[in-house]
Each structure stands twice: as structure tokens, then as C-alpha cells.
């Protein structure tokens, strides 16, 4: 098991190097001069030259990359061109916010998506199944930003129940933190719930047709036991893989959701950085995301391994 994990981590290193090189080059190809984007409206000639010098924008691209990669190895991701803050500090501030949002969204997606998927598989072809499918399809088709703004108008402006936007850390005020995050997490979670529900449903349908389920039923086991203990446990495998893949979707969704609800997280950080050509921040955020993505997939594989006894003999 340990050697498996180590092997996986070793494969991750070249992946990360490739990702960072790719993003670095891609950014430099982006049209638009970062010095101009940073110099401000006046475009003062001295300021422009100073920015180019300070951030080494005049150096050849491979030198810029090597300088960056050298720093990254030592844990220094550079300095934000826009705010002068170290990138690691910015990521340290923003990452927990997005993780909180992501965790809450996943929980909401699980609470809604999995039971709905299981139930609609069990009650396949009934009115419940059709309604659940319609709800899931709407969840997939309704854009995040629209649902977000509608919720703000309804819940915050008309009903006055929750704050319209903003963020409070759970370490400062847990209740307030929950209040500010519940709406964005719901918006993000429902979109995932729909995907999750569709996958749970098809996984369950596959399993429910399997021989051992028929055997379990013929043994005289109650339907609940059959569904939960026999069918669902096996249907969980593809769901775990799915959840790991959803992580990417979650981050993409967080970018939009954070914009709408003005949550100072990772998504907002990268959007602002791209528009201001804040190379160091974009680079750091992408690297961090890639690491996160690889880790999540590794964890998913381990969980998969724990859930599926057959996998153990493979190693």
C-alpha cells in the first residue's frame, strides 16, 4: 500500500512540472502587456520600465521560468505584481475559504444527489423517478450565476434572511460564517448534486440488476437491507471516482460562485489575476490547483481500494 502511494506521488512530479511549464508559456502567449495592465491609467514611462525590470519581463522566457521554478522549489512562489504580497501568503489566505465552500457544497451535493439517485433507481419508471430526473436536468441546465442572483434577490433582499454576499471566517464567527456561505454552497452544490444524482442512479440500476442482488432478495432479505447494504455499497465505487472528478468542476464552479457572492477565495483570486496579468499569482494558483487535483485523485484511489476488496490483490 505504502509503495503504491509512493509510486503515485513519483508519477505526480513530472505531471506538475509539465503543467507549470504549460501554464507559464500559455500566459506569456496571452496578448496584452502586463506592465501596461499594471502601470495604471497614466502609463508613466518610468513606471513601465521599472515594472519590466523588477519583474524581469524583458528576460527570455526560459530564464523567467527557471527563476520561477527555482523559487517554487524553495517554497517561494514570487510576489503579486498587483498588491506586492507574496503569492504563498495570498494562497494561504484564500485557499481555506474555497476549501470551506467546496466542502459545504460537496456535503449539500451528497445530501441531495445520492438519496435522490438511489431512490429514483429503486423507483425506476415511477412518478418520483421522472420528477427527480426533471429536477436533476434543471440543476444541470440552470447557470450558477442566474441561480445565485435569484437567490440573493429572494433570500437576502426580499426575505432578509441571509447576508447577500461577503465572507466571515468560521474561526472568528462560526454562525455568521455559515450564514454567508450557505447560499453560495447551495448554488455550487445543486449543480454537482444533479451530476451526482444521475451517476448514482445509473450505478444503482446496474447493480440492482446483478445476480447477487437477486440472490439476496431470494434469501428473503428486506428491500431496505438489499438496497442499502448490498446494492448501494457496490454502487458507491463509481460514485467515489465521480466525486474525485467532480473536484475539477467544483473549482470551476467556485470561480463563478465566488464572483457572484463576492467571496474572497481562490476562484476570485485567479480571475482578478488573469485580468490584471498578475503572472506570479496565476502561476501559483494553477500549481496549487494541480497539486490539489492530483492529491484528491490519489485519495479517491485509496478510498476505492479500501472499498473494493478485489483491488487489494492487484498490488
Amino acid at each position: 500500500m505504502l509503495s503504491y502511494i509512493l509510486r503515485r506521488l513519483a508519477i505526480a512530479i513530472p505531471t506538475l512540472i509539465l503543467v507549470s511549464m504549460f501554464i507559464f508559456t500559455l500566459q506569456k502567449i496571452l496578448p496584452g502587456d502586463p506592465a501596461l495592465a499594471l502601470a495604471g491609467e497614466e502609463r508613466d514611462a518610468a513606471a513601465l520600465e521599472f515594472i519590466r525590470e523588477k519583474y524581469k519581463l524583458n528576460d527570455p522566457i526560459y530564464e523567467q521560468y527557471l527563476a520561477w521554478a527555482g523559487g517554487a522549489l524553495k517554497g517561494d512562489l514570487g510576489i503579486s505584481l498587483r498588491t506586492n504580497q507574496p503569492v504563498t501568503e495570498l494562497i494561504g489566505q484564500k485557499l481555506p475559504v474555497t476549501i470551506q465552500l467546496a466542502v459545504m457544497a460537496i456535503i449539500i451535493a451528497f445530501i441531495i444527489g445520492i438519496p435522490m439517485g438511489v431512490l429514483s433507481a429503486v423507483k425506476k419508471g415511477t412518478v418520483f423517478d421522472y420528477i427527480a430526473n426533471i429536477v436533476a436536468l434543471s440543476g444541470l441546465s440552470i447557470p450558477n450565476f442566474w441561480l445565485g442572483i435569484m437567490l440573493i434577490l429572494l433570500v437576502s433582499v426580499n426575505l432578509g434572511w441571509l447576508p447577500a454576499s461577503g465572507y466571515v471566517s468560521p474561526f472568528i464567527d462560526p454562525l455568521r460564517s455559515l450564514e454567508t456561505m450557505i447560499m453560495p454552497a447551495f448554488v455550487l452544490g445543486t449543480a454537482l448534486a444533479a451530476t451526482l444524482m444521475r451517476h448514482t442512479r445509473s450505478a444503482m440500476l446496474g447493480v440492482l440488476r446483478a445476480d447477487y442482488v437477486r440472490t439476496a432478495r431470494s434469501k428473503g432479505l428486506g428491500e431496505t437491507v438489499v438496497v442499502i447494504k448490498h446494492a448501494f455499497r457496490n454502487a458507491l465505487l463509481p460514485i467515489v471516482t465521480m466525486t474525485a472528478l467532480l473536484f475539477g468542476e467544483l473549482l470551476a464552479g467556485a470561480v463563478l460562485t465566488e464572483q457572484i457572492f463576492t467571496i474572497p477565495g481562490f476562484g476570485k483570486l485567479i480571475v482578478d489575476a488573469v485580468f490584471t496579468r498578475d503572472y506570479a499569482v496565476v502561476q501559483g494558483v494553477v500549481l496549487c490547483t494541480a497539486v490539489g487535483y492530483l492529491l484528491i485523485n490519489l485519495v479517491a484511489d485509496i478510498v476505492y481500494f479500501l472499498l473494493n476488496p478485489r483491488m487489494r490483490s492487484v498490488l
Binding site: 504580497q85 489566505q93 437576502s156 465572507y167 464572483q259 485580468f275
Partner: protein, 502 residues
Amino acid sequence: MNRKFLATLLLSVAAMTGQAFAHDLRIALQSDADVLDPDQSRTFVGRIVYTSLCDKLVDITPGLKIIPQLATEWSWGDDGKTLTMKLREGVTFHDGEPFNAKAVAYNINRSKTLPESRRKSELASVDSTEVVGDYEIRFHLKQPDATLMAQLADRAGMMIAPQAAEKEGADFGANPVCSGPFKFKERVAQDRIVLTKYDNYWNADKFHFDSVTFLPIPDTTVRLANLRSGDIDMLERLAATDLAAAKADPNLKVEAATSLGYQGITINTGNGEHSKTPLGEDKRLRQALSLSIDRDALNQVVFEGAFQAGNQSISPSSPWYDNSNPVPARDVEKAKALLKEAGYDRLEIEMSVPNNPVQTQVVQVLQAMAAEANIDIKIVSKEFAKLLSDDSSGDFMASQIGWSGRVDPDGNIHAFVTCKAGLNDSGYCNPEVDKLLNAARATSDDEARKKDYDAANAILLDELPIIYLYHEKWIWAMNKKLEGFTAYPDGMIRLENVTYAD
């Protein structure tokens, strides 16, 4: 009812009323400020924060007159080459360091020499400073500069604490120490900037909030939703299209002022190879394009009439506006005739526009209007950073872009149309215009300056390197209980005398 519940209820009501007395004013900004160091800063929203955080040598009135702030009086000498200022006594910075002439000398020197400083060109005319007395400072200029006072009414005139600045260097912005009515408390990037009242402020009686929190909320709809739900007290830059909704809300009120800036079409008349187009080379075609535009209709269609139509670099509401050249009426026939005269039945042009919905709509309206005058506009939508670099390198034919505006008229025109000036994306060059605009800079006689600007304007309106379209309005929406707010054309939020009625 449970007695314990009742007690809790009463307590929370008491807590809420208590909050109302010790009010934190929450202001939503359209974007996040950059570095909070007046010498390094470049964003508009940053200046809004400074208005509460950092005092300047001088300030402006809503009518753009220069008035005392940290400098109480001033006089020009030596044919406009020296400026002597008397300074306010008894002023301290937020860390207790006293404000005096030495501090001013330090600040001007820092603005001129800090490698990261973006104020260098604004203070280019200042040769040196001389500490005449504890509370008297003299500026020695290289040449007379009528725009200097306006510069000192903005970031170049903001005073930061010398000891703190010396200690922090270029990192000063992480913990700025100034002498304004509020002092810096904390900042979470992209989330909030919190200032608390500075009790030793020289004018502290006029400021009535214990703290001010600035929250960047980029989405206009969300900004308004926050105001309507009571999460914030005030917002800046309400979208013109939301004006009716905000006015209709009984809990809100709206204030507006025409901005100092403009929106227009910059035409490439001499910036590299791409200027060699019919539009760039023949002024009659530019005149035809300008004549095809109904500026009032544009304002009505895109901004529901909330903004102000314009045809010069300054708005019709400015005292510097040239009244002899008012906003022209649309004249399609004349436009067609000019086109014919230049040898064209139809003309096709390319116009770049930043890829945001509002500016795109502006250009679409222009497209429809110009088509009726036989001018076909091909819209090229560009991401803003790309638009900027293309405009600056001359890779455009016509570009819809604007300018946020400056207090002195020089700031809206000199850098854009004088030969080889820093912001002259058009590549326009006319020695006569240079002569007039340079002369207007060199005298502090307003009447003489106005004559020079009017003369330059007449030439520019004929040759049209920039076709001006309209002037935006700053629109602030706020809670009805907020009283005493004054709208300024510079878009700043001055909290002097602003109170919260309970």
C-alpha cells in the same frame, strides 16, 4: 412566553440599538484597491480609500476650486517658478509623529525618487523643496506649472508619516500611516479594508463614524442587492440602468455628479503603419463619423439618459468647457456629403472595444447610427489588457476608450494630443496645438489659459484625433438614513459632515 427567551430577546434588541449609535459605515466599491501607498497606487478605488485615510496638502470643492487641507494658504512667486505654502499646525500622523514642513519635503522627495513611485511625472515640474520654517515649505519649479496645485490635491499631495515610510520602504502599503480622519486597521485582499476613527485628527468633530469598512463587490446587481438588504450603507458607481430601481426603493436615495472624465473614440492618425487608412488620413471622414452620431440618443438608449452627452475632453458642466463649440446635432446628410467629397460612397472601418457588455452596446448603437451615413463599422471586441497594449502600440484603426479625468483640464488633454506625449495613442501631432497646450500649462492666469484651451479645442474639433461621445456620471446609492453626503465630480467619497440618522 418563556422568561429566559424574553430576556434574550430584550438583550439582543438592546445590542442592536447600541450598534446603531456606534456605527460602522460600510461602503461597497466596484473593485479592490491596489497597494495602499499613495506613491505606488494607481487605482480609482484606492483614491476613494485615501480620501478617508490620507490627508492632502490641498483639496477641491465640488466646483473644482482648490481649497486648504494640510496647507492653509499659499502664494506663487518668481514668475510662477516658486510656490510657498503655510502648513496647518498641531497635525499629527496616525502613529503620533508630528506633521511639519520637513515631513512635506520628505514626502515630495519620496514621490520623486522612490523607484516604485508612480507620481514622478505628476511632480516632474518640481525641482526641489525648501523648508522655510517649521510650518512653511517652498517648492522650486523647473518651469511654471499651472497644474501643480491640482496634482497636490490628489495622490502627489498626500502626506504619509516619514518615520513609518522610512522604516517600511516599498512595503509601506501593507500598513499605511497617514494623517487623515480615519486610520488603517486591517485589510483582507479582495474582501475588505477597515479604517477606524483617528481621535487626534485636526478636524475630528466633523467625522461621525467609529469605523469605515470598504468592501469590493464587482457585480453591480450584487452591489445593489447588498444595499437593499441592508448589508451595506452605501455603494459607488451604481449602473445607470439600475438608477430607476434604486430611486423607486423607499429605503434608498441616490446622488450623482458628472465625472471629470470622458468616453470617446480614439482614431489612429499617426501611430505606426495602421494609421495609413482613409479614416486616419482624411479628417473629412472622421468628421463624417462624428456627424453620424446622435450623442443624446446614445445616452438615452444605453444609459437611460443618466449620463451627459459631450464633444470635448471636458464635460459641458465644467467651467473650462468651450461653449462656442456645443455638442453638435446629428447630420446624416452632411456626413454623406463629406464622404462623397472625400471620394467614398461607403466606408468600412474597424473599431475596437473592451469586451464588456456596456461598451459593446455603445459601439453597437454607433454601428447602427453610422450605417445610416454609409459608414460600416466592424466591431473588434478585445479583452481590456489586450486593447490597452494594441492601442499603445498602434495596432488599431479606431478604438472606443475613455479617461477617468483630472481636476485640471490639462490632465484630460495634454498627454493625449501633444506630439509624442505618453498617452497619445492616436499618434496625432500638430505643432500649433502643442504650442497652445504648453502655453496653457505655463501660466496661472485662468483667463489666458481658457483662451488657449478654446483655441486648441477649435483645431481638435476640426481634425478629430479623438471623437468625444459622452461623460459618465458618478452615481452613489445609499441608505436613506445617511445624511450630509456631497457628490463631487472626482467621484471620491468625502465623509466630512456625513451622519447616520437613527
